[in-house]
């Protein structure tokens, strides 16, 4: 459905995207993850035909985006990261305008527009100017505008960026609903937990290059071999006591809390050492947590190249 082959893009001396390739299958939610400035938005802009790549090609449903941008874009809906509806037009007029740009018959626009606004909780506000909507509502309106053409593929650039928890949850549940309806979705985000929650497959992009790709579970297994042990002692301990642990593991100490990051197979050994310290210093353990790394930790490790 979507294919990027060796995309390159530079802005002056800055190489924003360096050889990005991936493909997305029908009905899949594909996440492009990366820190700010990693090249996610530039990649999406190239795939949707807004930017011409210096090298490489992009295809939407087999159509070369740069040879036939109108043909390719007629199959997609896009919610760009930095975008707004026309604030001086009503919610309904924004929808109708986009419908007309897809040359959708008037009756279909009316029928589909009504359905979408009801689904997205905006029907009661259809006559309101978009400038009177909250940020979350505007984002939902943009989603409705992207869906008015009933596209096979949806590009969502940072769909929940800057939204409050409730609006973000609503958008996420809509994305899940779209997947159930068979839509193919490409989303970019720097919200790692969101990607872990929503995406069937993710690619992690950093400094313009894809550095890891797979399902969130794949990445957890491949890169998530570390665990975090947090111990709360009844008294603060001298940091030098922990030197014997520091030689082998990543250890931080914050008064009574000691945090040790080690590989899963070292757990037994580390717990022994902690018990040794406890007995030697006559301390009591008041709390103990052992956690696998979160998807966010794994992402950070991948991006840092650890």
């Amino acid at each position: 459905m979507v294919e990027a082959i060796g995309l390159y893009k530079s802005f002056g001396s800055v190489e924003a995207v360096r050889g990005v390739s991936f493909s997305v299958s029908r009905g899949e939610i594909f996440g492009l993850l990366g820190p700010n400035g990693a090249g996610k938005t530039t990649t999406i802009r190239m795939i949707t035909g807004l930017l011409r790549p210096d090298r490489g090609r992009a295809f939407i449903m087999g159509i070369d985006v740069h040879r036939n941008p109108i043909g390719a874009r007629s199959h997609i809906g896009v919610v760009p990261e930095v975008s707004n509806p026309y604030v001086d037009l009503s919610v309904w007029d924004n929808l109708v305008l986009i419908g007309k740009l897809y040359c959708i018959p008037k009756e279909t626009i009316i029928e589909r527009g009504k359905f979408l606004l009801e689904e997205l909780g905006l029907y009661d506000r259809r006559s309101s100017k978009a400038k009177t909507l909250s940020k979350g509502m505007r984002r939902r309106l943009l989603l409705a505008m992207a869906l008015i053409s009933d596209p096979e593929i949806l590009f969502l650039d940072e769909p929940t960026s800057g939204l409050d928890v409730f609006s973000a949850r609503k958008i996420r549940s809509m994305i899940m609903g779209l997947r159930r309806n068979g839509k193919t979705i490409v989303l970019t985000t720097h919200n790692i937990d969101e990607a872990g929650m929503l995406c069937d497959r993710v690619a992690i992009i950093n400094k313009g290059k894809i550095i890891a790709e797979g399902t969130p579970d794949d990445l957890r297994i491949r890169y998530g071999k570390y665990i975090e042990i947090k111990v709360l002692f009844d008294n603060s301990i001298d940091s030098s006591v922990l030197n014997e642990l520091r030689d082998h593991y990543n250890v931080t100490c914050d008064e009574k809390w000691v945090t040790i990051i080690c590989e899963k197979n070292e757990l037994d050994e580390v717990l022994d050492k902690i018990m040794n310290i406890k007995h030697r210093l006559g301390l009591r353990i008041k709390d103990l947590h052992i956690e696998s790394q979160s998807f966010e930790d794994i992402f950070v490790r991948i991006v840092r190249g650890e």
């Binding site: 802009r45 949707t48 807004l50 930017l51 941008p69 109108i70 043909g71 874009r73 007629s74 896009v78 760009p80 930095v82 975008s83 707004n84 509806p85 026309y86 604030v87 001086d88 037009l89 007029d93 305008l97 986009i98 007309k100 740009l101 897809y102 040359c103 943009l142 505008m145 590009f155």
Partner: protein, 249 residues
């Protein structure tokens, strides 16, 4: 092929309707498109006593010029600032269609203002010698001026005032060298060559011919040169904006 052209025209019209609704009543459009030519005209009228025919011809010449070139400089910077440009460009349209929609809205604004002035003239008993020629000249010149206005918006700024300022710097001198207030043959000899490179000269010449029977060129030359200006400005404007529009995203 026919379906394709029909789709393009529908998209241009949809974009144009959007521009009409959003920009016809914006402050810069009304100030630069309606008030500015009116005050310039009034300033010239005070102290001079031209015939009603001359007065209507002058007002019509500068009003068409200012009105048709007042919206195009504003739209792209405004949409960049409002963050709607990328949203609209991500649809199945091209940059050229967006520019065409903008030009159409601007052209129709110029035509509308011109028709109002023609109607006022008729109400005052001043009729043009040939209405179809007048309408043709208004349509052609409005397209030409809207392209000219769009050229000013090629600076990739998100401040509409920047484009308006630039357009004013160019448009103001054109008023005085194009035979609107002072006939070309009464201009200083050194300024005359400049008047020949202003599209307003040829439109004002047609209007003067139709309202007061005074012209520097034949109607054929006026239309031909105006058409050449329109084609050259159109190509240059679209190409320049195509290069800079991506910098706005």
């Amino acid at each position: 092929m026919v379906a394709c052209i029909s789709d393009y025209l529908k998209k241009i019209w949809a974009l144009s309707i959007k521009d009409m609704r959003l920009y016809y009543f914006k402050g810069p459009t009304i100030v630069m498109g309606v008030f500015m030519p009116m005050f310039l005209w009034l300033a010239f009228m005070i102290g001079s006593s031209p015939s009603i025919g001359s007065a209507v011809a002058m007002l019509l010449s500068i009003s068409s010029f200012f009105a048709a070139s007042s919206i195009t400089p504003v739209i792209l910077p405004w949409e960049t600032r409002q963050k709607t440009l990328e949203m609209i460009l991500a649809r199945p349209i091209t940059i050229e269609l967006v520019l065409m929609g903008t030009c159409l809205a601007s052209m129709l604004y110029g035509v509308f203002i011109s028709l109002v002035i023609i109607a006022i003239g008729i109400f005052l008993g001043v009729c043009p010698a040939n209405i179809p020629v007048l309408i043709a000249s208004i349509l052609l010149s409005s397209i030409c001026y809207s392209f000219m206005g769009l050229l000013f918006s090629a600076i990739p700024s998100d401040v509409p005032a920047d484009a308006v300022l630039l357009s004013s710097v160019v448009r103001m001198p054109l008023i005085f060298i194009s035979g609107v207030f002072v006939p070309i043959n009464r201009l200083p000899i050194l300024m005359r060559p400049l008047s020949y490179v202003s599209p307003l000269t040829y439109y004002a010449d047609i209007i003067n011919d139709l309202y007061i029977g005074r012209s520097a060129f034949s109607l054929g030359i006026d239309f031909l040169v105006l058409l050449l200006f329109t084609i050259i400005l159109g190509i240059f404007t679209i190409e320049t904006n195509r290069r800079t529009i991506i910098k706005r995203l």
